[in-house]
């Protein structure tokens, strides 16, 4: 297991995919922080909810890109046929899947640590520059620090499972993008009582975003973990049964 995990981590480190995704996450985090930090009036920015949106919104870019780390880690293997090589050295497919989940989760955690640092760094700098006091409570601060880390790890694992289920790289990317924009976001906007239980909104809740319609961070965590487990089960069945 440790050998397979080392192998999977080396796979992530030896192509440009992951560094590029991390750069995009950081760029989006900065962009988000500036948008949410500079456009509100000073009065708005002084409110805690706006400050949560400023920092939390920037930090959730880690999860947004981490899902693609997982997705590309699996679909890339199918696209280039390296999955055959992987399974020749470790034919126990469940073990390979678990190693991929763990490697992606670790990458997700790294993404989140970087993005949380960028979000707090940029966010607090903007508050200081505009001479607005920090209004975050201790609890919300803790959620804003650890929530995105958990969300990003779960998101990367979800990406692995979606990749294992769809396999076709372009198809998986399109499916995931359409889902998160058209299903997850749209359902939450129109029927929030249902939409908040979807994986994306559960992750937003866990990340500490301020929206009265979202679940609490704790409940969001439970729902996000449940979704991840369901997808891991489906991906396991698919990996068990199919020819490569």
């Amino acid at each position: 297991m440790t050998e397979q995990l080392r192998s999977e981590l080396r796979k992530l480190r030896t192509t440009r995919t992951v560094p590029v995704l991390l750069l995009v996450a950081v760029a989006l985090a900065l962009l988000g922080a500036f948008a949410e930090g500079l456009s509100p009036t000073l009065g708005e920015l002084a409110k805690e909810d706006q400050q949560r949106l400023l920092i939390g919104g920037a930090a959730t870019n880690a999860a947004l890109l981490a899902v693609f780390v997982g997705l590309l880690a699996v679909t890339g293997e199918f696209r280039y046929g390296t999955i055959r090589v992987t399974l020749l050295f470790e034919p126990r497919r469940r073990l390979v899947l678990v190693a991929k989940l763990a490697a992606a989760a670790l990458a997700g955690i790294v993404f989140a640590v970087v993005c949380v640092a960028v979000a707090f760094g940029a966010g607090l700098s903007i508050l200081a520059a505009r001479d607005v006091g920090v209004a975050l409570t201790r609890t919300h601060t803790l959620v804003l620090v650890f929530g995105p880390v958990a969300t990003s790890a779960l998101s990367a694992m979800l990406g692995v499972t979606v990749g294992a289920l769809i396999r076709n790289q372009v198809g998986a990317i399109v499916a995931l993008s359409v889902y998160s924009l058209a299903v997850d976001a749209l359902l939450f906007a129109t029927v929030p009582s249902l939409g908040r239980y979807l994986p994306g909104q559960a992750g937003n809740a866990l990340s500490g975003l301020p929206d009265a319609e979202l679940l609490s961070p704790g409940l969001g965590a439970a729902v996000a973990v449940a979704w991840t487990l369901v997808f891991i089960a489906m991906a396991t069945l698919r990996m068990d049964r199919s020819d490569i």
Partner: protein, 298 residues
Amino acid sequence: MPPVLSAIELTKRFGDITAVSELSFELEAGSVTGFLGPNGAGKTTTMRLLLGLAEPTRGRALVFGRPFAELDSPGARVGAVLEAADLHPGRTGRDHLRVLAPVAHVPPSRIDEVLALVDLQGAADRRVKGYSLGMRQRLGLAAALLGDPELLILDEPANGLDPEGVRWLRDFLRAFAAEGRTVFVSSHLLAEVAQTVDQVVIINRGRLVVEAPLAELTARLAGTVRVESARPDVLEAALRRTGVAATERLNGTLRVHGVAADRIGEIALAANVALSQVVTESSSLEDVFLELTAEPRT
């Protein structure tokens, strides 16, 4: 000791298509076996079944007497290259091997050894997308050799190799087998492997055509006479009556084995069959391969 590789009534269907049908053969240690058949004969599917990448519809595929997935540390026992393209283009050759070193249970120093073995040290730190097909083949082979396996399974390894590369591969495989190890190598061209293999397993349309030592296949070719006549049925019957059973029909042409041309002439004369052509074939292995795997004419 179980055979190194065994297919036991191996069958694989994809929907309505039967890719491999009731295929049985065994490989002994220390031999080089050519796995031959035209494109689409089911060679790659058979290899995937043997390597546990696909599940047989019926039958069993065993490596060292066990299903591939049940081998302990398979990388140390079996090395396989299915397609030269099974490489990430953005990864360097060395990184491809570094990724596999932990799961092959080998130290980093082994990477330089296998790179030297396939003569790829110079290009090891370049990304695979800049590699030629031959270099990809060699990198695939280097990965297969990482765990120092007892069995090599190679699917069309000569594809993309220049003549020098083909010769290098031949020498390499012979040396590998000379150490008592086993090679199972597929090709759609017999000539490509004729100088390398000890025995052949020939399949066509997913079925076994012949499993024989190369020498036996060569011997089988000796003394084939091609006879054309207006009445091949009568001639075939007449040959049979005189005890010549080894005939093959291909439209109006008879191919008769083990009888000299003049004797065939006598039999034809006695049977009152006019012959339009009698040719003693100096057939090559390639001829017999093409004939064995020819599409049946209907």
